[in-house]
Amino acid sequence: MRISVYVPLVVGAVLPVLAPQVARHRAPRPAAWLLACAALVAMTGWLGSLALLAFTGFAQIPEVAEEGHWSVAALRTEDPVLLSVAAVSAMALAAGLMSLGAAAVRQARHLLWARRECGRLPGGTELVVLDDEAPQAFALPGSPGRIVVSRGMLRCLGDTEREALLAHERTHLRCRHHLFQAVWRLTEAVNPLFRPLTRAGGFVLERWADEEAAARVGSRTVVARAVGRAALASAAAARPAALAATGGAVPQRVRALLAPPPPRRTLPFVAGALLLTLCCASLANAASDSEHLVDSAERAQCAADADAAGRARAVHPARERDACCDHLAADTHGRHGS
C-alpha cells in the first residue's frame, strides 16, 4: 500500500513523456494500439489510486468507521496515508470523474452528430465532393462513414495521389480511428497531464492511414507527395493565418514516408507492456492491501467489542459480536490461505 498505490500515479506521469517517442519512431499501427492501451491503463490507474487514497482517509472518519465496524485507531497506526493527502485525492477524483462524464457526453454527442450528418449528405456514395474551390478533405465517421473532399483538393492532386488521398481517408473509416480518438480525449479529460497522449495518438493515426494508403497505391513517395501537395495547397488558400504551432505534423509525415518504412521492432512494445502490467499489478496490490487493512481494523474493533462484551456478559449475554468475529476470522484465514 505504501508504495504500490503511488505507482499508477508515477506511470501516469511517465507515459505522456514516453508516448511521443514511441509514436515518432515505430510502425504506426501497433503504436496506435499501444497508445490506446496506455491511455486506458493510465486512466484507470489514476482514478483507482485516487479512489484508494481517498477511501483510506474517508475510513478514518469515526462515523464511517462505526458504520463499517472497524477501528479508527488500528487504521491510523497501520495506514501511512495522511488525511490531507486523502482529502486532495478525493477532490482530484471528484474533479476527474466530473470532467470524464462531461467529456463522455460531449464525445457521444459529436459522434451522433457525425453519424446524422453522414446520413444527410447527398448521393448514396462513399465519396461526397463539395463544389468548393478551397482544398478540403476529411473523413466523417458514421455507419457507413463518408469521405468529404472538395473540388479544389481533387484538382490539386495527380491521378495516383488522388487515389492515395481516398485510401488514406478510407483507412480512417475502416479502422474506426474515431474510437481511438475518443479514448484519448476521455483520458485527457480525467487528467490534463495525459494530453500528450492525444497529440501523439492523433499523429500516429495519420501515419497509420498514410502507410495503409502507401500499401494500397503501391508507393510511399506518391503518398508523401499527395500529403505535401494537399498541405501546400491548403496553406496557399489559407484563411486568416491564425496558427503557427501545429507542431509540424505534415512535414513529419512526409519525411517519414520518404524515409525507409519504420521497423517492426518488438522491444519497445515489450517495455511498454511491462510498464502497463506494473501499473495494473500495483493497483491490484494496493487494492488488496487496503482491503486487508480494513479487515484487520475490523478485527481490532471486534476484539475490542468482544472484550467489552465479555466484561458485560454477566449482565447481558450478547453473542452477536462473537459471531461476527468468528465469521470474519474464518473469512480472512481463507483468503490468506489462497
Binding site: W113, F138, E161, G228, L232, A244, R255
Partner: protein, 137 residues
C-alpha cells in the same frame, strides 16, 4: 507489388470494392477540367480495371443523378453535376470555417502549416521531384 494489391482487393468485400470504385470514378471526374469519356476515366484510374466495369459505374452514378451525360463521338462524355452553394456545401463550409469543436470528429487529410512548415515541405518535395519524375502527374 502487384501480388500485394490483388491480395488486398481479394480481401475487401464486393460491395465495398464497388463503393470504392464509385468514389474513385467520381473523384476523377471532379478533378478533370472537361467532361470525360469512359475510356478517359479508365486511363485516370490506377490498377488494371475492365472498361465495362467503368461503364457500369458511370451509368450507375448517372442514374443516381450525380453525373451529366452528353454524347461525344461514338459514346458519351460525363461530367459531375455542379452544385455550388447548395445546402450541403454551405453547411460543411460553415463547419470548417467556424472551427467548432465538432471538428474533433473529422479526420482531416492535412493539418494547417506554419510558415516554417511550408518552407520545409517545399524543400522535402523539391528534393523528391529532382530525384524522379514518374507516377503521379
Amino acid at each position: 507489388m502487384r501480388d500485394d494489391k490483388s491480395e488486398e482487393s481479394g480481401r475487401v468485400t464486393g460491395r465495398r470494392a464497388r463503393g470504392e470504385l464509385e468514389g474513385s470514378v467520381l473523384a476523377a471526374l471532379w478533378a478533370a477540367e472537361k467532361p470525360l469519356t469512359a475510356r478517359q476515366v479508365l486511363e485516370r484510374l490506377p490498377g488494371n480495371l475492365a472498361y465495362t466495369s467503368v461503364l457500369t459505374i458511370l451509368s450507375r452514378l448517372h442514374g443516381k443523378g450525380m453525373l451529366v451525360r452528353r454524347p461525344a463521338g461514338r459514346g458519351n462524355a460525363y461530367s459531375p453535376v455542379r452544385d455550388e452553394a447548395t445546402e450541403t456545401a454551405v453547411r460543411m463550409h460553415s463547419l470548417l470555417e467556424r472551427g467548432s469543436d465538432r471538428e474533433a470528429v473529422l479526420s482531416r487529410f492535412v493539418s494547417e502549416l506554419s510558415r516554417e512548415d511550408e518552407q520545409l515541405l517545399q524543400r522535402l518535395l523539391g528534393e523528391q521531384d529532382t530525384g524522379r519524375h514518374d507516377d503521379g502527374q
